[in-house]
Amino acid sequence: MTDNEFHIVVLIKPVPDMEKVRFDVEKGVVDRSSAPLEINPFDLNALEAAVQIKEKLGGEVTAVSMAPPAAESVLRDAIARGADRAVLLTDRRFAGADTLATSYALASAIRKLGRFNLIICGEKTVDGDTGQVGPEVAEMLGIPHIAYVTEIREVTKEKLLVVSELGAPYLMELKLPGLITVTKDVNKPRLPTLKDKLKARKAKVEVWSADDLADVADVSRFGFSGSPTQVVKVLVPPMKKRRSQIFKGEDAVDKLIEALEMEGLLR
């Protein structure tokens, strides 16, 4: 990569297929064997956005993940979908990370990669559903960010013109280097070709351990030890029961209105 090439980093989380995954209630953990890993659906939009920008400006797209070793196949999928390079952070010392420790590890990996112009993440992950990692990474790298981007209008090597949903849609400008998190509205990810899929099956995924980041990071801030939040208990909420109050007869409507008022729904 030469110095003036445009470099995009896409953060990708391998997640279980949420339709199939089962939860082990007794152990309080997700039964990882119950469903295969795939690219977090929102990250597909992030990757597609990156590839579209690369098609316009040239340069290189790097996919970065922090996940167990089995996630290599997910990163190969990212390569099939247009990433030029894939880095997997995998190490026991990354395990048990909350969003802060995850963001720290990812930000450290991006620092280690060296130059970057734009970082793109999905707005959230389907399993964690926090949407925190993107803005946290931006803060740790000291760059501006725009979250909930629903449309990318213009892109140059210096700045992005985007529409962001902040309660209402706003037209915003982001100076690069910067970070955006994108929603599902931003694009429709294309399907990879069989040829690209086959090629990616043989592609190499770079695997980095915690020690590989030691020169740019404080390894004690990785994983469980670097995580200030801890899950103390997990409950399976009781199945939502419908109230099933069906009114008949003359005063049925009055009863309905009364019930809705009790629920605070007629305000």
């Binding site: 297929d17 199939k20 119950s34 795939e38 659906p41 294309r190 399907l191 070709t193 069989l194 099956r201």
Partner: protein
């Protein structure tokens, strides 16, 4: 509807489960049959809807109807395409929607389901326990009872065939009220019961009311993919299908769709058709137990396609991507519905699909008409659409329909491969069945309708 019959029905199922308010009855009068062949239902005021909860109640309803000489119409999800559930005469609609029992028998890889369970509910319950159920006729609101009575097929039947192949046991109520329990949690049953059971599958409910079934489940496949193969040439596209089958690979499904229709459908669904190339597509659904086998098959199929002039295939692997493609495929029919007079369900021997296309193209020229086309390519089953054409009379539509049917028959096929005969297409039955065969069906029905003398 006679007040005494409504009262008698209420005595059987309880007041809440008899519907005779005409406004409410309206929702139970129609199914999804194409406008051009739709059967006009009886007025809502002459129809009563009853919702039994078990076979015993169904039995009593049938006995009552028999006694009073009132026709009954069994209604499942109302997704049928042959007016099989439409009350064409004043009578009783038996809606199966309350028969919701569902048990996944993990040890035996089976499911025991009530007739009113929808396909969507079964798929979900099965997936939760790590199982899969291949038959997929499109609308997941279809109910199990209807799927069995109509021997539904759909998009994922190349490898394992129609609904019939999944039924291991049935609970059926005969027209005279006897409750039969046939087969069961058995993979094999060569007694009379197991054979008798098949009489009720695919006969569209004319011989009895299905109330419960034991179904075979398939384990969840570890590696699945849907390959979208674009072609610029229609015949090349369809002629590839028999070659794939002859290669020894049997996919879960091979579907044929065209650019115009899928793009229209995708737009309506707020989705995007994944391929920007080609005009004609094969959708090849594969399911294997490991990725290596899956990819070996994909490569083999792709090389057959390329040899026949295909463009570069696209590959959907994530559940969402695969679901979206299946959804677009499933929704072609409802999307085209406002523009269609009819959509014959013609089926020919799989190897004759190329010839079928040639004949349909001749019809397009002859009638100066665009015939949208989609279907289950590997089953030799296509759904050419007879579009609404300004100025055309009923006779003109009928003429085109008959020509399509005759082509199918000439090529060794039938007028319906999966949608069935129902009330809407009874008159075309003669094209497929000899008088003797029709008479034989009548005799069987007659026997089952005769109250036993004991």
């Amino acid at each position: 509807m006679r007040e005494d019959i409504v009262e008698a029905l209420k005595n059987i199922v309880g007041d809440d489960w008899v519907v005779n308010n005409p406004e409410a009855v309206k929702s139970y009068l129609e199914d999804e049959t194409e406008p051009g062949v739709k059967v006009e239902p009886a007025p809502a005021t002459d129809v009563v809807v009853v919702k039994p909860v078990n076979a015993q109640e169904v039995s009593e309803i049938l006995k009552l109807a028999n006694r009073e000489g009132v026709p009954v119409y069994v209604r499942g999800g109302g997704t049928g395409l042959a007016c099989g559930c439409v009350p064409s005469k004043p009578g009783v609609v038996i809606s199966m929607e309350r028969m919701k029992e569902i048990e996944i028998d993990k040890e035996n890889l089976m499911a025991v389901v009530g007739a009113g369970v929808t396909l969507g509910e079964l798929l979900k319950a099965a997936a939760k326990e790590g199982f899969f159920f291949p038959p997929h006729p499109g609308d997941e609101g279809a109910q199990i009872g209807g799927l069995i009575a109509c021997n539904a097929v759909g998009a994922r039947a190349v490898r394992t065939g129609p609904m019939r192949n999944y039924v291991l046991g049935l609970e059926v109520v005969l027209p005279t009220g006897e409750i039969l329990r046939l087969g069961g949690r058995l993979v094999k049953d060569n007694t009379g019961a197991g054979k008798l059971m098949h009489l009720f599958i695919g006969t569209e409910g004319i011989l009895g009311v299905i109330t419960k079934a034991v179904l075979r489940l398939s384990p969840q496949y570890k590696a699945t993919a849907t390959m979208v193969v674009p072609f610029n040439d229609r015949r090349a596209c369809l002629n590839t299908v028999p070659e794939i089958l002859q290669s020894g690979i049997i996919p879960l499904g091979i579907e044929y769709v065209q650019k115009k229709e899928v793009e229209l459908t995708a737009k309506r669904l707020g989705l995007e058709w994944p391929s920007k190339e080609g005009e004609y597509y094969l959708l090849i659904m594969l399911a294997e137990f490991n990725e290596d086998t899956l990819y070996a098959q994909l490569e083999e199929i792709a090389s057959i396609c390329r040899k026949n002039g295909s463009l570069e295939p696209l590959l959907a692997e994530t559940p969402e991507e695969q679901t979206n493609i299946l959804k677009i495929r499933s929704e072609i029919y409802p999307t085209l519905k406002p523009y269609m007079e009819d959509s014959p369900d013609i089926t020919v021997p799989p190897a004759n699909i190329g010839k079928l296309i040639e004949e349909l193209e001749k019809l397009e020229r002859k009638y100066d008409i665009y015939i949208p086309l989609f279907g289950h390519a590997a089953d030799g089953n296509l759904h050419p659409v007879i579009p609404v054409k300004e100025g055309w009379t009923k006779e003109q539509y009928e003429k085109l329909r008959m020509e399509m049917y005759q082509i199918a028959v000439k090529l060794g096929g039938v007028t319906t491969g999966e949608h069935g005969v129902g009330e809407a297409r009874k008159k075309y039955l003669k094209l497929n069945l000899s008088n003797e065969a029709i008479e034989t069906l009548r005799k069987i029905k007659k026997v089952l309708e005769t109250t036993p003398s004991h």
